[in-house]
């Protein structure tokens, strides 16, 4: 888990705005990195670096919304604070749905901006923690054999051992062994824990459920 201090990434094509924001945010004691175009930011971006993105919506080339999409495609969870010239509500709603932390109208006041950055940092931290737990679960899931994974899918879908044995053309005893192995490998004690874990990891259910 990365424990480096979070960075505020600022992307704005307007050099003077970029410089002013950098001064302001850096002046508040935060670590700042500036980019004069979304593409340049994308090119240098390391998803593992914690922090948040302060992004001008209107830019030539990739615009803010497109950058947001590109980050998601790369599995980045970096929270984004949008800055916009017009209070364009539909665009704001769209951006928020895609996971924007805030949508500030220019000129943005220092207090609002820093508050939004604080919030974004919190969000980033939580997401990263969540993302850390999930990675461990995925690690455990990876230890399952193909047959155990198959059985897991049936269990999660609520089938009984006898039914699963019938489905897979085997005996109940074998299924019981598989089930015990799965519980052991995934480090869960109860069926309820097993279902919760499988759901979090996004385990798929078999094609014909109950």
């Amino acid at each position: 888990m990365n424990s480096a201090p979070p960075t505020v990434f600022i992307v704005d094509d307007d050099a003077s705005v970029l410089k002013a924001l950098e001064r302001l945010i850096a002046g508040a004691g935060l670590k700042v990195a500036t980019f004069d175009s979304p593409q340049r930011f994308l090119d240098c971006h390391d998803p593992s670096t914690p922090g948040c993105l302060v992004l001008d919506v209107e830019m030539p080339g990739l615009n803010g919304v497109e950058l947001q999409r590109a980050l998601a495609d790369r599995g980045s969870i970096l929270p984004i604070i949008f800055l916009t010239g017009h209070g364009d509500v539909p665009k704001g709603v769209q951006a928020m749905k895609r996971g924007a932390v805030d949508f500030l109208t220019k000129p943005a006041d220092e207090k609002d901006l820093l508050a939004a950055i604080g919030q974004a940092f919190d969000r980033d931290r939580v997401l990263r923690q969540e993302r850390g737990g999930l990675a461990e679960i995925h690690g455990r899931l990876a230890t399952l054999t193909a047959r155990e994974r198959e059985v897991l899918a049936y269990i999660v879908s609520g089938r009984r051992n006898k039914q699963i044995a019938a489905d897979l053309g085997t005996v109940e005893k074998t299924i019981k062994v598989h089930r015990a192995r799965v519980m052991e490998k995934l480090k869960v004690r109860s069926l309820a824990d097993l279902v919760r874990l499988a759901e979090r990891a996004g385990v798929e259910r078999p094609p014909y459920g109950s």
Partner: protein
Amino acid sequence: MARSRWYFLVGVSLLCSTVALGAQPEHAPWRVLFLRGTALFSSSDMIYDLAMRDAITSGTDRVVEFHGEPLDAVRFTGTEFEQELMEFLRKKYRNMKFDLIVAAGPGALDFAARNRNALWPETPVVFYSVLAESLEGKRLPPDFTGLTLGLDPAGTIDLAMLLQPGARRIVVVAGKGAYDNNWIRRVKPLVERHRGRLDAEYLIDEPLPEILDRVSKLPADTIVLYLSMIRDAQNRIRVLPEVAKELAQASSAPVYGFFETYFGMGIIGGSIASFREEGVQAGRLALRILNGEKAESLPVQPAPPARCNIDWRQLKRWRIAETRVPAGCSVQYREPSFWEAYRRYIVATVLVVLVQATLILGLLVNRARRKGAERELRESEERYREVVDSQAELVCRYLPDTTLTFVNEAYCRFFGRRREELIGRQFLELIPEGDRAAALEHVASIGKEPRQVAYQQKVLMPDGSICWQEWVGHTIRLPRGVVELQGIGRDVTDRKRAEEANQRLTHLSRVAMLGELSGSLAHELNQPLSAILANAQAAQRFLAHNPANFDEIGDILQDIVRDDKRAGEVIRRLRVLFRKEEMQHQPVDVNEVVQEVMQLMRSELMNRQVSVVTRLAPELPLVKGDRVHLQQVLVNLVMNGCEAMTAGSERRPRLSLQTRVVNANGVEVTLIDEGTGISPDQVERIFEPFVTTKAQGLGLGLSVCRTIIQAHGGRLWASNNADRGATFRFTLPAHTGGGSQ
């Protein structure tokens, strides 16, 4: 060699032609023996004979020798005489051969018939002047031919009875000679035919003086017919025409005759044969024989017929109406009429009168013209005044200090004042104070520039309202060095108001356009404001630090100042666009306008995700125009292009904006979009007001654009691209110097 042959040929041809000339036959002259039966110097015979001779000689190229013998057979008669005469003739013409014998008169014919064979055997004979009756019972040799006389006593008597239908008596006058007796004998039966109607009397047995006395006592209803008088009763030889003359002079009744020689001597007329014609006919007959025709084959022919001839003077003398004269009669000796007699005098007199009349007429015309010219001048003055007064145009004359010296009706009407109120006043008073200096400047410029430019000015109406006039002035130089100015003007208030309305519309359309751009414009303004706010708040932080970082604060303040100016610039640009001003005509760089528009629309284009590719001609001439208006046109067109493209396009839309030089020094701006294009029936209509293809908008944009471009002297049009989208194009004429710079 060749040369010698040529000489030979020439020599031979010359020789040949010489031989041909020598071979031309040389005719021997024709010899004609002319036998005249009567004595010499008879006037009628001389007419015959000369006409006969001329007819022969003029009908041939041959030389004709005439030999003549006057036989005077009436007076010299007897066998013995004839024997001696023959002896003489034989000797005389011993060595001569005749081609033809012409026998003139009965005596000659008889002599020839008797003696030709003995004297000139085989020589053919042509005769004439012989009565047809005298040939009766005679046997002429076959090679004798000729003419019989055409004398017509019967026709003459008929004519007399026609001219004198009331005549009771005919008096025949003749001599006592054999010839005369012959005529009496022949005329008697003709007279006899009219027995019962005409009493006949023959005056033949008396000497001429007595006959003359007798005829002088005849009643007027008498016909006097004169035949001939070679000898009178006293045996005195007479000349026939002379007798006719005396008779006619003495007679108390009209005298008629049928010999040509009597005509003109005082007789009234008759049916008269022409001796000359008969002579010509005889000559032609002789010529045919000389030319080789056989006399035997040519029959005896009658002489030309006698024709009615009347002496006009005698008609008058005897008071015979000309209406009695039968048709076909030749009336001669007509006395010249007054006109014929005095033509020269009449002509001269008429000429003199004419010249005088012309002179008088000329003077009259001249006077009338002068009067007419005076009247025309007066009328033209009136007309001119009427024209000037009835003009819708305002006409005035004024001194250089604008004192009016003349105004027309329209001028008075326009200002609602009487002429007397206006003349003598300065029209400067009628102009709003603010515009007076410019008006005076204009007046001073009149006549200094060769091309008159219409000058528009505001004027104050009596009710205090403002109207517009347009004036063209020129200088008038009056005698004695006075200079006046004449102005022709018109009321252009309506046009001005329409222009103002148009300006308002243009402005409104611009404001509406700016409204559409407001989001983007806000962004443009927000950028510097954002920077300023961030910088200012950062500075506050730096100030709060201990120690304060003044270097950093100084940089910040510098940036704040810069961004503030930038914001101010945006505002200024906006204000210019919002401003409501008359169109300016300044030299404008179209490339600069394009760049300004791109700056203005940067945010809008970004927002619409439209990229614009500009390609600007490097050396574009300046155009004369209004920067703001041209910006308006470009913004409108770019917005249009954007809207055409955002509707359903998958890839990032692109506009292409180009400038280039066209037509030597015009400027063309082209905007190509990749949108949906324009439906063909709309290509022109989209420039009409209130025609729009958009869901929103008034549809004024393009119509205003076109108005603006046209006001610049340019042209704006649209067309669809071959692949997709549309192209809008406008041209602007280059600024050609002069004007304000």
